[in-house]
Subunit: 397 residues, 2 copies
């Protein structure tokens, strides 16, 4: 098959116009927002033009199906609240271009997917969680975003959802092309990463509830200050994690909602996100136990209540050996000595799909290692080279 780089890049730029931030090439296209839905409609029209059968499932996952027993290629088209133009979008448009090119060349049937809510507005990888059966639709519907909106309410904004499921056994395997989102390839000057495995991730929401009161008349020793509880928790957690982690382990406290969040009021409540990632399931569990123990200690010491939400997450997972071999062969052919095997520190839909079919991932460099930010970017020559490697591997499979 012969891919068309101009058509591929033009579609990638058009997708960027849905929710363009106006700052660099950034996008603001969280799952189920008006611009996310509009982008999915446009993608559906491009799939239809390519001769694929368009199908939305109930959650809003969008499939372009080439026939029974096809290879599936894709990623997601939703973004972080402040996202880059390539995260997810690259893998979807790569799938679309390879599906078109294969059809034009009379090659094997290639299907395309854009999963919904990969960025975890309502969970972790919500769309592929439900599609692969890791999470029931009923449980997913109960999940809420940071503003307390349920997924059930959000997905009702999409008219396209159908009750007719898209069975996973329609597909023989899954390929996901993605930007690395880290500094490795950009630092070494290599062009392609063949992903060997994806780290596991855990995510939970924690609330400390103290006592809201006047910031002038409440003596320090009588305060039950939720922010102080959070700060003490964070400090102690960092000390304890330092004793058990590897250099590749990461943890993040990225969301904080303080209540009532006024400068003259002792904070009565704080809800925050706690996320941690590691390649070993045992270490993920050990970290969870430390989090729970530290929460309980801080609550007792500071006379606040603690509420720990459910732990959501994905297990560490290896990529399929045969697909890895095909990606390596194509990389060595098109970018000799400019590729490497590497783990993925970021979570991807491929981590879910790998449990139901043979799955592989390919990385291209991220300039400066920057992602989840408006200035995320990759040289367009690197994007096209990655697409060519992926297409050659897909043809070989």
């Amino acid at each position: 098959m012969k891919i068309n780089p101009q058509r591929f890049l033009a579609d990638l730029h058009t997708l960027r116009s849905f929710g363009a931030s106006g700052v660099g090439k950034g996008v603001v296209r969280p799952a189920y927002t008006a611009v996310d839905i509009a982008a999915r409609r446009w993608l559906a029209s491009r799939m239809q033009e390519a001769g694929l059968e368009v199908r939305f499932d109930r959650l809003g996952n969008l499939f372009g199906i080439a026939g029974e027993k096809s290879l599936l290629i894709g990623s997601h088209s939703d973004s972080q609240p402040e996202g880059g133009w390539l995260d997810g979008a690259l893998g979807v448009i790569a799938g679309l271009e390879i599906a078109r090119a294969s059809k034009e060349a009379g090659g094997p049937p290639i299907s395309v997917v854009s999963f919904q809510d990969e960025e975890g507005r309502f969970g972790v990888l919500t769309g592929s969680d439900v599609w692969t059966g890791r999470l029931s639709m009923a449980d997913a519907d109960q999940q809420t975003d940071n503003e307390g909106q349920t997924l059930r309410a959000a997905r009702q904004r999409m008219k396209e959802g159908t009750e007719k499921p898209v069975p996973t056994d329609l597909f023989t395997g899954f390929l996901e092309m993605h930007i690395e989102q880290g500094p490795t390839l950009d630092t070494t000057g290599e062009k392609i990463g063949v992903v060997t495995n994806i780290v596991g991730i855990r995510d939970m929401r924690i609330t400390f509830t103290g006592r809201q009161n006047h910031a002038g008349t409440t003596p320090m020793h009588l305060r039950q200050d939720a922010f102080q509880a959070l700060s003490a928790f964070n400090t102690r957690l960092n000390e304890r994690f330092a004793e058990i982690v590897t250099p590749a382990t990461v943890w993040t406290l990225g969301h904080v909602a303080l209540h009532p969040n006024a400068s003259s009021v002792v904070p009565g409540r704080v809800t925050f996100s706690m996320q941690w990632r590691d390649a070993e399931a045992a270490r993920l569990l050990e970290m969870e136990q430390i989090i729970r123990q530290t929460c309980d200690e801080i609550a007792a010491e500071r006379d606040v209540e603690v509420e720990m939400g459910p732990v959501m997450g994905i297990e560490p997972v290896a990529m399929d050996d045969r697909i890895q071999a095909a990606l390596r062969a194509a990389a060595e052919d098109l970018a000799p000595q400019q590729w490497r095997d590497m783990p993925s520190g970021a979570l991807h839909d491929a981590a879910n799909v790998a449990r139901v079919m043979p799955t592989g991932m390919l990385f291209v460099p991220s300039i400066g290692g920057i992602s989840h930010a408006f200035d995320e970017d990759t040289d367009e020559a690197d994007l096209t080279l990655g697409l060519e490697v992926l297409a050659q591997a897909a043809a070989a499979l």
Copy 2:
């Protein structure tokens, strides 16, 4: 003069209906919101019915003027984002009732005031800051709330503002009745607090700017995490303050805005409020120096930028001796041995007004010491007793 407790309590409950929270007796009536403006219009109508000359100044401070050289009584009718029904409202309605009762009895002229934005949506005590000349109207107009709205834009929602000033020398003195907002009177069972002095307060907004990045692919040692900078700052500040404060010193980190505030993103920026209070100006300054030094250290250690906003505040101030004596005499007459002298740990408009005319304050108990919260409350018998003491002192002055 003879005050009318039923009329006083009825007006107090009517004022509570503007912005009623539906939770206990709480109110949501921040400065310049639609309900705050509606409450001021209703107060103006009650002042007019009482035969007072109604005047709004440019900022939205509302005066009911009884004539030249009158005693001014009042407080504020705006509330915290989650406020109690008595904070501010009590002092305004007390002034209204005493002005009415004195007029009915042919007593001395009593004027009433409801200052605007005492709760510091746009500053510290914005309305009385400007009225007493501590802050220029031009500077006040530049001040922004936590959402970035300017005071200039907010006050344009009030049609009542007039360019005609209300000179401070219309008034011979100022009395402010207020709930204590702390636990002292409620714990001792006493009914009246005669305020001797008001502590000083300092308030500043601080921003740490790091580097927003992906929470899975950014190694811990390469992060410039704004939340971690905030937590480290808070921990170190607490250690340092512990060495110089008195048991009456307080400090609060009550507002935190994390950016982009998403669980899968290393936070790139945090803006937070830092407020501290003490009876001594020298200690307030020493605390400010420690805050600045700690900010700079954390910024250097963690490779983040720090931006410290202007320090706003009020100096510690003593109440007028003659007014204190009149309040003590009335308290001893109506609540023998059930009153005490006490400082105010909370800031009040009286702290501003004391710089331009003789000023005094009277406290009534707060049940459980709770304030700046929906469940703030005081026994109605205590409210009425406080009003009677204030009226007797006003008549004596």
